[in-house]
């Protein structure tokens, strides 16, 4: 029943899911960095920085991810000749798609972080200032510890969405799970079986992450 799977070696089933995992991890790291930077801008006391952060988030959030990913290939690579330091097309597509995922996901990371900071009641910071703590002490001892805890849930949602979003990379020929599924399901007769295999793969990737981080965010939640 699963015989047909052995015919696929570029990529293999596990290889394709490994690419999905790599895409997720690299993009998650990148978007965490860029998203934190954007969040810092959005909550900064400088109006211009706040404006830039707001514009970035609202523009990127309203463009379909598919448009961004296809643009990295047809625009950045084909017109602007960005090779991303890769000498073969496959690696180039892989890196380009990560660039796209980072640019897109950063907007959501930024919003998750900002909403986390906003859950801390203003009175907390005011009380901290009243007892004479400095700005960095207020941030380090009072605001951020509370914000980090309430951010885990929303960030987990972003991570799970990102895992699923990596399938869009198939649009520019990155050999991840959806790319393999498209090839397989068109060629083989076992439509249902193939659908079930790939669905199972994603359930395995997303469900434990969701359950663990959901449990963690509940455990660490600040009781108010």
């Amino acid at each position: 029943m699963f015989d047909f799977l052995s015919e696929y070696d570029d990529p293999t089933l596990l290889g394709a899911f490994w690419v999905t995992i790599q895409l997720t991890l690299f993009s998650a790291l990148g978007s965490l960095v860029l998203g934190t930077l954007l969040a810092a801008m959005r909550v900064s006391p400088v109006p211009l920085m706040r404006g830039f952060g707001t514009v970035y988030v609202n523009v990127v959030r309203n463009i379909p991810l598919t448009v961004i990913i296809v643009f990295t290939s047809l625009g950045l690579a084909d017109i602007f000749l960005w090779t991303m330091g890769a000498d073969d097309v496959k690696l180039q597509a892989f890196r380009l798609s990560i660039l796209g995922f980072v640019a897109y996901t950063a907007a959501f990371v930024c919003e998750a972080l900002r909403s986390g900071i906003n859950t801390v009641p203003v009175g907390q910071a005011e009380a901290a200032r009243a007892i004479g703590l400095s700005f960095s002490q207020v941030l380090r001892l009072i605001v951020l510890p509370q914000a980090f805890r309430s951010v885990i849930g929303p960030l987990a949602n972003v991570l799970i969405a990102l895992t699923k979003n990596t399938t869009v990379a198939a649009a520019i020929g990155v050999t991840e799970a959806a790319y393999l599924m498209k090839g397989m399901i068109e060629k083989e007769a076992q439509t249902l079986l193939i659908g079930a295999i790939f669905a199972f793969g994603f359930v395995v990737l997303t469900l434990p992450t969701g359950l663990f981080l959901g449990w963690l965010s509940k455990r660490l939640a600040v009781k108010r």
Binding site: L48, P64, T66, A156, V158, K164, T167, G210
Partner: protein
Amino acid sequence: MSSVLYDAPGPRAKRRNVILTVVFVVLLSLLLWWVWKLMDDKNQWEWKLWEPFTTSQAWTTYLLPGLANTLKAAGLAMVIALPLGALFGISRLSDHLWVRIPAGAVVEFFRAIPVLLLMLFANEFYDRYTAVSSEDRPLYAVVTGLVLYNASVLAEVVRAGILALPKGQTEAAKAIGLRKGQTMGTILLPQAVTVMLPAIVSQLVVIVKDTALGGVMIGFTELLNGRATLAAFYANVIPSFIVVAIIYIIVNFIITSFASWLEQRLRRRKKSTGAVIPAAAIGGSTATGGEGGGLPGLQTYVQKSDT
């Protein structure tokens, strides 16, 4: 202005803010100049690449039919997904284990799977097992994928909406002797609909964005697909991407504005229970293209308004 992070600025903070602003202006202009230069080096500012968008042909032949298909698929998906989502959301709240568990399993299953996989599967399924013509198939596949995914997201919205209502509503209904079905149909659901309306509207943003997947992967002739044909005809890849991105931004901005207007309005109403699921909770913000959260239990997002 004072916030949780910083107090109203004094003289030193004001000076520092001015310096930061200047530094940021310099950095921002460097960035803009770099982008402009990048475009200029590849002659992307040439008028002949942009001129097609001032003619009616580009719009009537490529972009508007594409946009119409995008909106058609999104609208159909929403209309079908909504009752399905309500059904599953209510089933998850059932008192009977044999209803609650399967409904929960279905919802969690479809929320865990990328929309693209659902579309690819639906496309192949219609091809092999049904008589849907190859012309209609992409639309069917896109709508099916979107319905399966968004029905499960909306099921969570409905569930959260009902759970957000004050407990007294159910208790009062019980006290005057309504049966379970009556309580749901005449007391809880009508109130929950207003509570979750903003969230439902902003889920439309996610649906609109996800239609683009069908354009690239299964040949559905929506906006992004129309862009490809247009760019092949006028040879203006970069300008076409920019114009299409702007169209998406405008469409989604309209939807988002409508959702937040709705939210404001509902919050102000005196008659309601005051519970509103913010538009940002599920749709526009946490969610993404081919997106959506996977955490069980959305009620963490439900906020009771101050009133």
